[in-house]
């Protein structure tokens, strides 16, 4: 055999590269495929198939029975509603509060601003796990105005799942960075036209903050949808339980594999579809959150 031409050799290298890329893809995809496929199989078949490659194929006795059974065993609709509700409110409120604070930091002059801003950046270093335990004590002693007047203690409620998370230092910082890079003329021109400060925030700045709104919304969505440690400690009743804590609880009922796979699929597939539709925004947002330090 003659030596290969340069072109053939390059093609070979590219071919090998793709082969490797595809092989690695299998490692990342196979557990997810296994999850979805297994959710469609009755338990006996699921166990039998896990001994062969059939574990990854939707073959045999395929049905949605596991889903029906899972929905019957636990109030999954209620869990899903709780998660959707707390996530939606937190995302909305955090976009508002964080952007408003960041606007103030970026465009308005007030005393102590520099110190407050550096304190906010300093809090990046405090992981949630460090404050979780004392936060539990605080939440247990805060007052709340309920239907029976003033009550002490936030535990076991929707607001204890929402309010601690409606502002966060990373969100403020991301908005601040974005606003700081906008041209000053934008604000100055609006001031000369007689716009009030709140109008400048709501009508001039927010409409052009699309990309950063998406970033902060995606990060908040993921933390709230995946919330586990905090609701685990603060929520006792089933009616208020969010979906990830409900999942662990469901698992502890010694449920059949197929049903658990169905539950896993229900909480994962919507997020994956959301991710696939907005890949770019997802990847960029999460990458930004990693570079905060």
């Amino acid at each position: 055999m003659k030596t290969m031409s340069l072109e053939t050799r390059q093609n070979l290298i590219i071919g090998l590269r793709y082969a490797l890329l595809i092989l690695i893809s299998a490692i990342f995809i196979f557990p997810i495929v296994f999850m979805v496929v297994s959710s469609l199989k009755p338990d006996i078949q699921l166990l039998r198939d896990s001994g062969s490659l059939r574990a990854f194929l939707p073959v045999g006795d395929i049905s949605l029975n596991n889903y029906a059974d899972a929905f019957e065993r636990v109030p999954m609709v209620q869990f899903a509603f709780n998660s959707i509700f707390t996530t939606a409110v937190s995302v909305g409120a955090s976009l508002w509060l964080n952007s408003m604070a960041a606007f103030s930091f970026a465009f308005l002059k007030w005393r102590g601003k520099a110190i407050v801003l550096s304190l906010i950046i300093a809090t990046f270093i405090v992981p949630f796990e460090v404050v979780a335990i004392p936060m539990l004590l605080i939440a247990n002693n805060l007052p709340w105005i309920g239907p029976n007047g003033i009550e002490i203690g936030w535990l076991n409620s929707y607001h204890v799942q929402i309010i601690p998370f409606i502002a966060d230092s990373l969100g403020i910082f991301l908005f601040y960075q974005y606003f700081r890079d906008l041209p000053d003329e934008l604000v100055e021109a609006a001031r000369i036209d007689g716009a009030s400060i709140f109008q400048i925030y709501a009508r001039i700045i927010m409409p052009i903050a699309g990309p950063i709104l998406a970033t902060v919304a995606i990060l908040k969505f993921l933390t709230m949808w995946n919330a586990y440690l905090w609701p685990l400690m603060t929520i006792r009743s089933e009616e208020l339980r969010p979906i990830m804590v409900g999942l662990q609880y469901f698992f502890q009922l010694n449920t059949a594999w197929g049903e658990i796979m169905a539950y896993l699929s229900v909480v994962t597939i919507p997020v994956l579809i959301f991710y696939l539709a907005l890949q770019r925004a997802f990847i960029e947002s999460i990458a930004t959150s990693g570079i905060k330090g």
Partner: protein, 379 residues
């Protein structure tokens, strides 16, 4: 005409408080609006981040419980002493009246029982209540490491090992993936999206899913290993075996998060100018030399960032433990945060939970300072 300084002095108190010293008086509206707009977010951060953070330190010196009829009292360093006390102790073999060693039936040296020293022995007050953490033989003596809180010490060491292993492992794999993807080939973004996908999946979901993969009877991993080795592989109960539980947890955690750091590496790779590679190519550099002398120096700060971010995240290890093993088997997967939750929430012992949180913070803070130091601007 009055000066700005006079006008300021005559202004109401709130103006003097809110307006920066060098700002003209007509900007007072800005100052008020500035405070008002930042206030809601700052209030939330104060109540749910700053105060709990400071409280962690305060509570850790008390005997605070979540619910208690009695007010909390100061106990000084007692919580930390209970968690962290470690004493090495040397046991000498027993001797008979003539001074010769006593051997037991199977011919090994016989030692006095530890509890003779650690239970109400007036000669050894500092060993009271301690328990054996580990021990080894040194000559004819046996050295025992005694600890006040064996489970917490195990959790601390496990978490440090978890972090120390997963940081280079996950960071290195992420770099390999990034290098593989850092080329303008068709469909490369499809692969990037696939590798990143597990990052958006909840750790609770991932951990439950991998419980099935690691299962000792019908687990997928045993099946696949059996197929590759044509049936000669003996099935392992990955999460039930003290030797494999922690490695299994590390592998799964890396699988879930490697895409995240791959993206950070990719961002770092993109900052290296193409002209540097071209110049190196003209100088006759091969692929490895290009990596060694162009890519790697350009990635220095990214490397520190990636390692530190993984390490700090690893110190927060909780969900994997709670969902997969609950600390077992034989405490080989206990973690610091899992213990903080077990005590602070489970036993409602806020003080001990807070003390563990403080220890965690000190570790994380140290790691972050190391990062500061390594990525400092050099001049």
């Amino acid at each position: 005409m009055i000066s700005a300084a006079t006008a300021r002095r005559n202004a109401p108190l709130w103006v003097r408080l809110l307006l920066p010293k060098d700002a003209p008086l007509y900007q007072r509206n800005d100052a008020v609006m500035g405070w008002l707009m930042a206030f809601p977010a700052l209030l939330v951060l104060t109540v749910f981040l700053v105060i709990p953070f400071l409280m962690a330190f305060v509570i850790s010196f008390t005997n605070q419980r979540l619910i208690s009829p009695n007010p909390a009292e100061w106990v000084g360093l007692r919580n930390f002493e209970r968690l962290l006390t470690i004493r090495p102790f040397t046991l000498e073999p027993e001797r008979d009246e003539s001074g010769a060693f006593v051997y037991d039936d199977d011919g090994s040296l016989s030692y006095p029982r530890l509890r003779n020293f650690t239970r109400n022995n007036p000669d050894y007050p500092d060993l009271d209540g301690l328990r054996e953490f580990t021990s080894w033989q040194a000559g004819e003596n046996r050295t025992v490491i005694l600890a006040a809180d064996v489970v917490f010490l195990r959790a601390l060491i496990n978490t440090l090992i978890f972090a120390a292993v997963i940081a280079p492992l996950q960071g290195g794999l992420a770099l390999l993936l990034a290098l593989l993807l850092n080329q303008a080939l068709p469909f490369i973004n499809v692969f990037r999206s696939i590798y990143f996908a597990p990052v958006v999946v909840s750790m609770v979901v991932v951990a439950l899913l991998w419980r099935f993969i690691y299962d000792g009877n019908n687990g997928l991993l045993n099946t696949i290993l059996g197929m590759i080795t044509f049936g000669s592989f003996q099935p392992v109960d990955w999460l039930g075996n003290p030797y494999t539980a922690m490695p299994a947890m590390i592998a799964m955690s890396a699988w879930q998060a490697v895409g995240f750091h791959m993206v950070i590496w990719l961002a770092g790779l993109q900052t290296i100018p193409v002209s540097l590679y071209e110049a190196a190519g003209l100088d006759g550099a091969g692929a490895w030399q290009k990596f060694r002398y162009v890519t790697w120096p350009g990635l220095r700060n990214t490397a520190v960032l990636v390692l530190i971010v993984i390490t700090i995240q690893a110190m927060g290890l909780f969900i994997q433990v709670d969902v997969m093993t609950r600390g077992g088997p034989l405490d080989t997967t206990q973690s610091v945060v899992y213990q903080a939750v077990q005590r602070g929430y489970g036993k409602q012992d806020m003080a001990e939970g807070a003390a563990i949180s403080v220890i965690l913070f000190v570790i994380v803070f140290t790691i972050a300072m190391v990062q500061r130091y390594l990525t400092r601007e050099r001049n």
